[in-house]
């Protein structure tokens, strides 16, 4: 990781990396492919990407490499693409859970979609991914995430991470 990237990530509180217009508190989709599509469409509707196709293809390929559903009801779809102008994070929640082929076989309820530009190094998103995967290992935080229904509450839950 470059010094600058480390400083950039270190200086950011986790909560500040999330935006209200990049949150879906009640996913409609019930299947893995359609969840990815719903999240990517949301990014387009929010004006964060111009082309859904490249991102969706990249995310599907990433799932072929190995499911990003790490268990505990949380998935971290992620990757880099030329179609992403800057580090982008989307939060999504499914009240009923989705079969995301998670490693523990259980339904996935929380999604952190993390996308980074291709022309920069992997360190642009790996640090954030590391922080989020560590965060959901905290049982109390995880329980709160399952129930989060608005941006203010999400900010409070993520604000517990000192980064």
């Amino acid at each position: 990781m470059t010094v600058k990237a480390r400083e950039d990530m270190g200086s950011n509180k986790l909560a500040s990396l999330f935006q209200e217009d990049l949150c879906i508190f009640s996913l409609r989709s019930r299947k893995k492919a359609s969840v990815l599509q719903e999240m990517v469409r949301h990014l387009k509707a929010a004006g964060k990407i111009t082309d859904e196709h490249f991102i969706l293809e990249m995310l599907k390929n990433r799932e072929s490499l190995g499911s990003t559903g790490l268990g505990l009801g949380v998935a971290f779809p992620h990757g880099r693409s030329i179609a992403i102008p800057g580090l982008t994070v989307l939060f999504a929640r499914s009240a009923s859970g989705v079969d995301f082929e998670a490693l523990d076989g259980k339904p996935t309820r929380i999604f952190f979609l993390i996308l980074a530009p291709s022309e920069k190094g992997a360190e642009t998103y790996l640090s954030l991914l590391s922080r989020l995967t560590a965060l959901v290992q905290q049982p109390k935080t995880l329980k709160k995430l399952y129930d989060v229904k608005d941006f203010e509450t999400l900010q409070e839950v993520l604000g517990g991470d000192e980064g």
């Binding site: 490249f54 072929s64 490499l65 590391s130």
Partner: protein
């Protein structure tokens, strides 16, 4: 955008993913977080299929640039190539929205207008 250029962009995204899964530093980081990367062979098969759809001359050009720069196709932001950060000539923008492939005259990378 021409179909062959779309395929080339998809190929680059796939190459970046494969590289991250193969390079020890990044794969170790991902595995430490709990991610499994056991579908690498599947990705290589997908890459071969995708590459076969791209005209040979264009694919070879991409492969040469990727071997040299790692990232062969670069987005244009403002009036600069984000690969070499050299300002693009005005003439570039007059043809920028045509279906032709664009090339940075300074570094030779392929250019993508998001």
């Amino acid at each position: 955008m021409r179909e062959e250029f779309k395929l080339l962009i998809a190929l680059q995204d796939l190459d970046i993913m494969i590289r991250e899964a193969e390079e020890k530093k990044t794969s170790d980081q991902l595995k430490d977080m709990g991610f499994q990367l056991d579908g690498l062979e599947e990705l290589h098969k997908g890459r071969a299929k995708l590459a076969a759809k791209i005209p040979a001359a264009l694919r070879n050009r991409y492969e040469r640039l990727a071997a040299h720069y790692r990232v062969a196709i670069i987005p244009v932001t403002g009036d600069k190539c984000l690969g070499c950060f050299v300002k693009l000539p005005t003439s570039f923008f007059s043809s920028a929205y045509s279906s032709e492939l664009l090339t940075c005259e300074n570094c030779g990378r392929l250019l993508f207008i998001p």
